[in-house]
Amino acid sequence: MEGAELAGKILSTWLTLVLGFILLPSVFGVSLGISEIYMKILVKTLEWATIRIEKGTPKESILKNSASVGIIQRDESPMEKGLSGLRGRDFELSDVFYFSKKGFEAIVEDEVTQRFSSEELVSWNLLTRTNVNFQYISLRLTMVWVLGVIVRYCVLLPLRVTLAFIGISLLVIGTTLVGQLPDSSLKNWLSELVHLTCCRICVRSLSGTIHYHNKQYRPQKGGICVANHTSPIDVLILTTDGCYAMVGQVHGGLMGIIQRAMVKACPHVWFERSEMKDRHLVTKRLKEHIADKKKLPILIFPEGTCINNTSVMMFKKGSFEIGGTIHPVAIKYNPQFGDAFWNSSKYNMVSYLLRMMTSWAIVCDVWYMPAMTREEGEDAVQFANRVKSAIAIQGGLTELPWDGGLKRAKVKDTLKEEQQKNYSKMIVGNGSLS
């Protein structure tokens, strides 16, 4: 039938094009510059859109709509200054102002809740999902937006899904094949090749543009790589530039298949769910892994959960107790082209991936940083904080002492007791109470 033949021809030409322009270059790590052209056009379009929007809205509301300004201006002064006291002065009725003001501030705006939802953009990037405050401006802008929707859903999405499919299948098949070989340097080389190729294909399936800085500090074998966590894509971004041994729980389903295949080709560290609870077991296995200098560096995300890429939260000390050299890496996404944050309470994995594939692109910067080791007299918590500060400064993120686990768990009472203790010390200090 003519229709079927035609469809068949189109499909095969299309596949050959994909093969030629995208898959083959990925094997050699070479880029044909198509994505660069796409990005240039995109940037120009978004700039044009921003100018149109600014012309369209009246001046004052632009200032007011600035997303970075909160509702209130917070007073960060510590308790002593806030109570305008020297130590040991008596209780006064006005003391209640300090606490009620702090309580009030926390109700209106606190540092933690805002980190678990996506960052607001200052100017719209022509995606409906980021459209919070912006109204209809002009016909031309709407036309451009409609064009954008068509391009994203009808052109880019099928292409990306195909690529992702090819990438994952190649990974599973490739690693299983390589896994049949006996252990040798050939096997390692092949396994690296397979990993890198498939990761590059997957990154292209998201239209990812990644800039790696300071490649000389790339994590070495036998070390531990530590990075801030925003989404499962972080893993993809890091493994495109080097091979790592992953650490994580064994999953079922598609993830499980991928995990089992990967571990045949090179030694990743997968734990059963029950084993994860046993911290000693986990530490022991990780220690064994890094002791073998021929094994790939371990990749760990010490925050333990996804944060929205505006801040770095508490690093859990477990990763820093293993010993060995820590190679910090800072990852910062550019939210203008697509929001990479995975809000796991709002979206499951599949809808998250679909959102990723219908954004403009994923653009991010990766900074490799000089290695750090634990110093004399420094305990794991201090070391973790030191690494955390370094990553926050490099990536331009705010540093927060709070535990990312607060996304789901309850807050402990110890925080309140701390405040009460400090306050009591102040009013009792000089022994004015007999």
Partner: protein, 174 residues
């Protein structure tokens, strides 16, 4: 954000906008915050939801602040109460309002007087278990003696006004 219109009636909106000089965009921002805090999405803030925020639950007096927001004392904070509560401490309100806010923190039964027992309860919240009850009672008694001009053993709002100094409170900016 059409939901904003559903929560406030026309009259309430007008009264509020007049009183506080809030623009529609301001109200949207605060509604967004309200929704962020309202984790079970029932349109009211229960104290339990607020305590899930670490900066809120670490504050010893936050239960009192919440009950001041809760003007109809139904144990929950609606969006209107939320907005009204924010205006109470906004920098544009006068000193009288601010002192009244602090007074309300102590005045547990909202009868316009701070009794010995009420002062004790609130101070207990601030110091926790770090002072024993005897020491705390001493502090309470001394404070009341210093402030109580008419000798009735309780602190009225007038007496309170005279002994308290205002610090620069919340700076609202939109």
């Amino acid at each position: 954000m059409g939901n904003t219109q559903a929560i406030l009636s026309e009259k309430d909106q007008k009264d509020l906008l007049q009183a506080a000089n809030f623009s529609e965009a301001d109200i949207k921002k605060m509604y967004k915050r309200f929704v962020e805090l309202d984790t079970n999405k029932n349109g009211q803030l229960d104290p339990q939801e607020l305590f899930n925020v670490p900066e809120i639950s670490e504050n010893p007096l936050v239960k009192r602040v919440i009950s001041i927001f809760d003007s109809n004392s139904d144990g929950k904070v609606s969006f209107v109460e939320f907005l009204v509560g924010i205006t109470k401490l906004a920098s544009s309100t006068d000193d009288f309002q601010k002192k009244k806010f602090a007074f309300d923190i102590y005045d547990l039964n909202k009868d316009g007087m701070i009794s010995n027992g009420e002062l004790f309860t609130v101070m207990k919240m601030m110091v926790g278990n770090n002072l024993n009850d005897v020491q705390l009672q001493q502090l309470v008694d001394r404070t009341i003696i210093q402030a109580d001009k008419d000798g009735d053993g309780m602190i009225s709002f007038d007496e309170f006004k005279d002994v308290t100094i205002i610090f620069e409170i919340i700076m609202l900016h939109f």
